[in-house]
Assembly symmetry: C2
Homo-oligomer: 464 residues x 2
């Protein structure tokens, strides 16, 4: 005790002698990188620094100003790196990493009915979902995703694995008309969803959601019941919509409406609805999405690989529809790298509109950050680096040959950066990866577990 | 001498006692990986091994068979890796890495006339070309490209830098109607090209070529003179063609023909011609390309980023046109990663044809290997791992989370692998990179030199 008091006196003396005020103690500093804040003014500090305390960003300023004002238990040196908001993946099915590359280059219905559905019927289990989510978490943390929107089975296992990994998630339990691994009927699925919502509704990282799979895989009553459940608890709805041209045909036959209009008529759309794909929409549909405040998750890689079409991204942006980016599940992509999603969003929009000025690098980065935050209704706490917001951020190396020279950091983030360039991933103020070392997951164990279960998946689809 | 003889006797005794014949001494073994040979039967050895002696592959077999037959000064352990032919980039402008990200998201003519041409006019020099090529060489070696087809200015500097780096190149000196950094007139360019051809025509790595820039940037006489020069020395012609819809319009006005037909009429097409882009071709044009034996370099990323259109890849493949992949220059891509080019070739073809079965993973890999070899007329010595062919090969790690699990190595190469996964790059039997350490280039020096020159480029395009 005496020794401690002496030390304290020495510190006080040093502060007094240096003429500087005592610095505020915070939990974490990130200093020295080019800080791309993604705030409303698109402010970039080169170099910049952040002070983080607990779960929140408390200050963004120059390195000198931050070091004068704060001291922290841990400091991350981000020199030669870009510091930016963590990327928000607005549409995926995390455990489907277990099926990546299982079957490619097939027509959508062949792919689903000959490979994915049979593989899922035989192999989806709480264990596979848990192991798959851990593998997806490794991949997401390593590639700079800090928040993901999910829809799958045994979503409570996904929530548990994501929470343990430290990732933020908007996680929707699937509601679907036919029997699936975790529910024989939609009613069973809804009951499971309600239990899941109750368990997670006050969690600081996990937002539970209801995920009616799509218009064409649920009847009207199930869709309405799903929407009612979401409204009862004030949680998001996650749904696929207007992904393929076939879906438009089916909706016209069944509802005499577009998928978008049909979903609105059933009460599925709204401020807390996250609709994935939105490829086949007309101008009236876009107006519906804007009016209802529905968020759209654009998945350029999945849409290209499955030849679904090109979502009218420039029209969405012009109309002010909430627009985020997603990777979709790894069975149809085949990875969870949001840097690829940004690049593809830009490339596909330019190609589809015959306009090289469409979806500029900055637009793609906006979609992956603030856009995603708006889609999930968390724009007040996520999507940019500003005091008072949650500390969800990443640092990205810029020292590769392919990133040399660097004239424009935003161009480089979108056009030449890979998920593997991410060095640090921080969610809710907690460092999940530092200098590419994972802190919340045992990487080798996760990969070994995934490879062990993959043998079962391989057997399940093996021709007899 | 006595000691040497004793040692020899001991070795002989061991061989005699073990009952095994003496193993053939070779220069290099690569053993233990999944060997994707890309031979006509698409044979895959899992695991496999290669014996390399001097510049050539002498054997491809199981690891046990190879180790029984050969001993080598150096052995590369490729366990957990895929071994495949080095990738052939059939279209780039290597030194343009110096302009990557300098200006993006612009209409083609704005991009060229406001940024690229002014930057080139003020900064292209032998030094910039040398430094830029070294930077490009680092990037290519690190991302698994072993051969590149180039078109730029001061091509002799590119040849020198590529040769020193140990890369294989088909390198075309640019012929263009207007004054450029290395030639005031096309005649000067042709004279420079002839000197370059004479200097390099018997080089084991570098194939010199004549590169008339395009139909729309050269008059008929210059194009004919370029073709004549190439024929005189039996060297390839490298040219841009049918890249944009505007180019078709211009050709119709000037020649009352498509660009492809016009180039044929001038005598530019043929078995040794490498035409880049080929986006705007009709069925008659495709027949011309097939009949003349002209090779096509497909550049999906550049075509998407500049909104040029989608080359009819499936038609080219159906017609049997020689088809390879290219990255184009890094100013319009923005990198030289051939894994991205493969992925984009598949994605873009699926999207453009509305057919998810178009350009399967295997098709994309074929284009980047044997297809590229055919385009450059080197299919007898490059493009696959077979005894008697040149030892141009790479090993690629498959241990990342995004590559887990692995059901199909070819799917993984195309859909989830990045250039950064390449561990070993071998050209002409020489190891240019081992375990990601470069052996022929001083990486830090190359990057420092590039950053130094980049400051000049930045000044050259700075608004006044």
């Amino acid at each position: 005790m005496k020794r401690f008091l002496s030390a304290l006196l020495v510190v006080a003396a040093i502060v007094a002698l240096s003429g500087q005020p005592a610095r505020r103690r915070v939990s974490l500093l990130v200093t020295g990188g080019t800080v791309i804040t993604q705030n409303a003014a698109h402010r970039i500090l080169a170099p910049g620094a952040l002070a983080i305390d607990g779960t929140d960003i408390v200050d963004v300023d120059t390195p000198a100003a931050i070091s004068a004002k704060y001291q922290a238990a841990e400091t991350i040196d981000a020199r030669d790196q870009i510091v930016l908001p963590g990327l928000i993946n607005t549409h995926t099915h995390a455990p489907m990493v277990m099926y990546r590359g299982l079957a490619d280059d097939l027509a959508l219905m062949d792919w689903l009915t000959k490979y994915i559905f049979p593989a899922e019927a035989k192999t989806v289990s709480p264990e596979l979902v848990r192991v798959g989510t851990r593998l997806a978490a490794v991949e997401m943390i390593e590639s700079g995703t800090t928040t993901f929107v999910d829809m799958y089975y045994f979503e409570e296992e996904i929530a548990k694995a994501a929470f343990e990994a430290g990732l933020r998630g908007v996680l929707g339990e699937t509601i679907i008309q036919f029997p699936v691994a975790d529910a024989k009927t939609p009613a069973e699925g809804l009951a499971r969803a309600e239990r899941f919502i109750k368990e997670y509704k006050d969690n600081g990282l996990i937002v539970p959601a209801v995920a009616p799979h799509a218009l064409y895989t649920n009847d009207k009553a199930t869709l309405a019941a799903s929407a009612a459940l979401a409204r009862k608890y004030g949680v998001p709805i996650v749904i696929h919509f207007a992904e393929t041209e076939d879906e438009v045909k089916t909706a016209r036959e069944q509802y005499q409406m577009t998928p978008t209009a049909a979903l609105e008529s059933i009460g599925v759309l709204g401020e807390t609805t996250i609709g994935a794909h939105g490829v086949w929409v007309n101008d009236a549909d876009i107006a519906i999405l804007k009016r209802t405040g529905t968020g759209v998750a654009h998945n350029p890689e999945s849409n290209m690989k499955l030849a679904s079409g090109a979502a009218p991204v420039t029209k969405y942006l012009a109309a002010g529809v909430k627009l985020g980016l997603g990777t979709d599940g790894a069975a149809s992509n085949n990875d969870l790298d949001m840097f690829e999603a940004m690049r593809q969003a830009s490339f596909l929009a330019k190609h589809a509109t015959h306009d090289p000025t469409a979806v500029k690098a900055q637009d793609a980065l906006d979609m992956a950050t603030m856009g995603g935050a708006r889609v999930i209704g968390m724009e007040k706490v996520l999507g940019s680096l500003e005091p008072g917001k949650r500390a969800d951020l990443i640092t990205v190396s810029m020292r590769s040959a392919r990133q040399t020279p660097m004239y424009d950091p935003v161009s480089h983030l979108v056009y030449v950066t890979r998920g593997d360039d991410v060095r640090t991933t921080i969610v809710n103020g907690k460092v999940l990866m530092s200098d590419r070392r994972l802190r919340t997951l045992d990487r080798e164990q996760v990969i070994a577990d995934a490879n062990r279960l993959a043998a079962r998946v391989r057997d399940a689809v093996a021709p007899r």
